[in-house]
């Protein structure tokens, strides 16, 4: 079946301003938006640039805005979309070219929360013991694929890209909530800062945007509770 794709194009080497270009694609059964983008690139226009790798929703490369909603191009079935399909780069990030955005700031925010285990005691020669119940505390936190869909959907991030954003804060929660970690105080200066957890206004866009059904807002609330408990 033929479908139309209206795609954001930007290449400052060719033209200073962005524009939209429409392509018609013969869609096969069960094709995703990524399949359609590949078909455009390989059959119609080799100059269309986008990121992709695993094509099954685990690497996080192909997050983009599809018919107004952030998601992974490799996961969104074309048949689930109505009308002309509009594909744009993730909002909130600088566009490098076409659907490719600059993710360097996103990853430096991640690094800022010290995303590594900070253990207060040295390990033994076997594993640290952690009960299945304690391990469950980081379910919903460790599965993040760092695609950027959530941070890109966050209005607080749009007005201030120094805000760490939902993905980095979810990662902070992944370590703070891990019973093997004692690093909350080491992360205080970053989390408890003007660009940290208090800048989230619980708008919940991140929750809606997450292709892995995670809840960064809830993670930020958990961090606030941890901080509050620390102060008492």
């Amino acid at each position: 079946m033929e479908r139309q794709f209206k795609i954001y194009r930007f290449n400052p080497e060719a033209a200073p301003a962005a524009s939209f270009q429409t392509y018609t694609v013969d869609i096969q059964h069960a094709w995703t938006v990524l399949d359609a983008l590949n078909a455009i690139k390989w059959d119609q226009d080799g100059s269309l640039s986008f990121r992709r790798s695993c094509r099954h929703g685990i690497c996080g490369s192909c997050a983009m805005k599809i018919n107004g909603k952030n998601g992974l191009a490799c996961e969104v079935q074309v048949e689930s979309l109505k009308g002309v399909i509009t594909v744009e780069p993730l909002p909130g990030f600088k566009v490098i070219r076409d659907l490719v955005t600059d993710m360097d700031g996103f990853f430096s925010h991640l690094e800022a929360v010290k995303p590594w285990l900070i253990a207060g005691t040295p390990p033994t020669d076997k594993e640290r013991v952690q009960s299945p119940e304690d391990r469950k505390l980081i379910d919903g936190l460790y599965e993040c694929i760092l695609c950027g869909a959530c941070t890109s959907a966050c209005p607080s991030y749009w007005v201030n890209d120094d805000f760490l954003g939902p993905a980095a804060l979810l990662k902070a929660a992944r370590y703070v909530m891990d019973t093997r970690d004692d690093g909350l105080t080491d992360r205080l200066d970053v989390l408890d800062s003007r660009n940290g957890i208090w800048r989230c206004h619980t708008i919940f866009n991140c929750v809606e945007a997450c292709p892995k059904s995670l809840n960064p807002t809830e993670a930020i609330v958990k961090l606030r509770q941890k901080l509050a408990a620390l102060r008492i």
Binding site: N11, P12, E13, A14, A30, K41, W42, D43, D45, G46, S47, S49, F50, R51, R52, S53, C54, R55, H56, G57, I58, C59, G60, S61, E75, Q77, I96, R97, D98, V100, M103, D104, F107, E111, K114, P115, W116, L117, A119, P123, D125, K126, E127, R128, V129, Q130, S131, P132, D134, R135, I138, Y142, E143, I145, L146, R174, Y175, D178, R180, D181
Partner: protein, 577 residues
């Protein structure tokens, strides 16, 4: 051209590359180049687990793991490497836990373990829980943890840098040339030690579990420098690729108790591996599936079978196999708690690769002589841990054990090796000229068509069952495709994030190593592990208990040589499951 210097440069940021970078980073200045952002690496797609005989959930020992690895590889693996792998598995697994990997837990709070194909206690007798796992996101959990630890270590990352040439002079690797994808600018990296950890190459097949990025870059780079490639004919087809995409459905699904059915509703594995059934090694199960399909017992006569999990119950599926449940819903529209999953064999893992010694040093003669300063680990390397067929969960294990080992070896090496030598101008200039030549490609041939023909023909002719006729046809076809590649054209002339040019270079790499695979497979006139020849259905230890080494000669032709297998403890025996 911009220039950079590091003691150690690692190419690839999957589990092997990151472990190496993190370990070397303890004492050396390390740069990591990745053609994607590190967390996009395909290690993150590993699902089921990482093997180590911890014995947390039943009696196990490294010796049982050793035997399973040797037998699983159909006795082609080098047993000194395999012994090292299974012994170091245990401390490395604990180290990964200490680093923060969020393993699932037993009731006592230890690392949880599950059964997997080919994992047995008591030297091949009863199934044992050996795969350490984090639900079915084990690779993702390990990859992210190692990336984060590398950040902590101060490793310098060059994200979206794509290597186009190694600089090897007088038997010494001095660095490499890479394309910064974002700008289109070439950079020279000068280093005392370079490690290739570029992963696998199953993108050369039409039906594959691999990511778009798995194009065997490191293999093509060393082969171009005259280093041989080892055992390239051994490519693993995973039995449960989601039909028709080939996306991986972890063996954990069978480890947790899933069944395979044909169109007659029969658990057909009882015909092929009566005792171990669905938990036989992957080559055995994939051959069984392909036979069922070829003989018309695929579902509705089609090219797939059913993987049935429904009897496991919703709770087990959602708790232990959540990602599989999600994948099958999203990509097949099926709820696997209620309906069986359509599956087919899918090109998955490369047992062969860049020959190295136990310390990850790349061997320029494939045997003894190292290229000074050049290392390789993980799937792109061939130590050989996996012989003719890899056991499930030994891949992320190899990446961790040998990546880590390589990191430590390189750290020692750079301390002793003295300062980074000033680079010559010629190799960087040649790399630049080659790159500019490709950028200017304006012929009538289409890269897409060449790639599609390569992938379709590799699936048809270099798939699970092979014959001399098919392989001869494939060798000729690839040579024709290579000739056509010389007349390829691209439309994108800009430099900024030009993925048409990176895809073109990846296609060139794929054509290069695919020819090596087909030539090596044609020469090996026996069936062993994942290499099944209809015209030579038996294993032939007299002739073929040896590793293939394929050299690219200066005139572009391929020359085959062989080397003996290292056998220390387990003599070859008949392989039955």
């Amino acid at each position: 051209m911009e220039h950079h210097r590091h003691d150690v440069v690692v190419v690839g940021a999957g589990i092997a590359g990151l472990y190496a970078a993190m370990k070397a980073g303890e004492s050396a200045d390390v740069g990591v180049l990745s053609k994607v952002y590190p967390t996009r690496s395909h290690s993150g797609a590993a699902q089921g687990g990482c093997a180590a005989a911890l014995g947390n959930e039943g009696n196990d020992s490294w010796e049982f793991h050793f035997y399973d690895t040797v037998r699983g590889g159909d006795f082609l693996g080098d047993q000194d490497a395999q012994e090292l792998l299974v012994k170091e598995a245990i401390p490395v697994m604990y180290e990964m836990e200490h680093l923060g990997v969020p393993f699932s837990r037993t009731a006592e709070g230890k690392i949880a373990q599950r059964p997997f194909g080919g994992h047995f206690a008591d030297f091949g007798k009863t199934a044992v829980k050996r795969a350490c796992y984090a639900a079915d996101r084990s690779g993702h959990a390990q990859l992210h943890c190692l990336y984060e630890q590398s950040l902590k270590q101060g490793v310098r990352f060059y994200n979206e840098f794509f290597v186009i040439s190694l600089i090897i002079e007088d038997g010494t690797c001095r660095g490499l040339v890479a394309l910064e994808i974002r700008t289109g600018v070439l950079h020279a990296f000068w280093a005392r030690a370079v490690m290739l950890a570029t992963g696998g190459y199953a993108r050369a097949w039409r039906v594959t579990s691999n990511s778009h990025a798995n194009t065997g870059d490191g293999l093509a780079l060393v082969a171009a420098a005259g280093v041989p490639l080892e055992d390239m004919e051994f490519v693993q087809f995973h039995p449960t690729g989601l039909y028709p995409h080939g996306i991986l459905i972890s063996e954990a699904a069978r480890g947790e108790g899933g069944y395979l059915f044909n169109n007659d509703g029969m658990r057909f594995m009882e015909k092929y591996a009566k005792s171990k059934m669905e938990l036989a090694p992957r080559d055995v199960v994939s051959r069984a599936e392909q036979t069922e399909i070829d003989e018309g017992r695929g579902i509705d006569g089609g090219e797939y079978l059913h993987l049935d999990l429904t009897h496991l119950g919703e709770k087990t599926i959602l708790e232990r196999l959540p990602q599989i449940h999600e994948l099958v819903v999203k990509f097949a529209g099926i709820d696997c708690t209620k309906k069986p999953i359509p599956t087919q064999p899918t090109a998955h893992y490369s047992m062969g690769g860049i020959p190295t010694d136990l310390d990850t040093r790349v061997l320029r003669d494939g045997k003894k002589q190292a290229v000074e300063g050049l290392f390789a680990s993980g799937e792109c390397a061939c130590v050989s841990n996996h012989g003719a067929n890899r056991l499930g969960t030994n891949s992320t294990l190899e990446a961790a054990v040998f990546g880590r080992r390589g990191g430590m070896v390189m750290a020692r090496f750079v301390k002793e090796a003295g300062p980074i030598l000033p680079g010559a101008e010629r190799p960087t200039r040649e790399a630049e000229e080659g790159f500019e030549h490709l950028c200017a490609s304006s012929g009538p041939e289409s890269a897409k068509r060449i790639r599609a023909e390569l992938q379709a023909s590799m699936t048809d002719n270099v798939g699970i069952f092979r014959t001399a006729a098919k392989l001869q046809k494939q060798v000729a076809l690839i040579r024709d495709l290579k000739a056509r590649f010389e007349n390829v054209g691209i439309s994108d002339r800009s430099r900024r994030f030009n993925t048409e040019i990176t895809e073109l270079i990846e296609l060139k790499y794929m054509l290069d190593f695919s020819e090596v695979i087909a030539v090596s497979a044609l020469a090996r006139e026996e069936s062993r592990g994942a290499h099944s020849r209809n015209d030579y259905p038996k294993r032939d230890d007299n002739q073929w208990l040896r590793h293939t080494l394929a050299f690219r000669e200066a005139d572009g032709s391929l020359r085959l040589d062989y080397k003996p297998v290292v056998i220390t403890r387990f003599q070859p025996e008949e392989r039955k499951y």
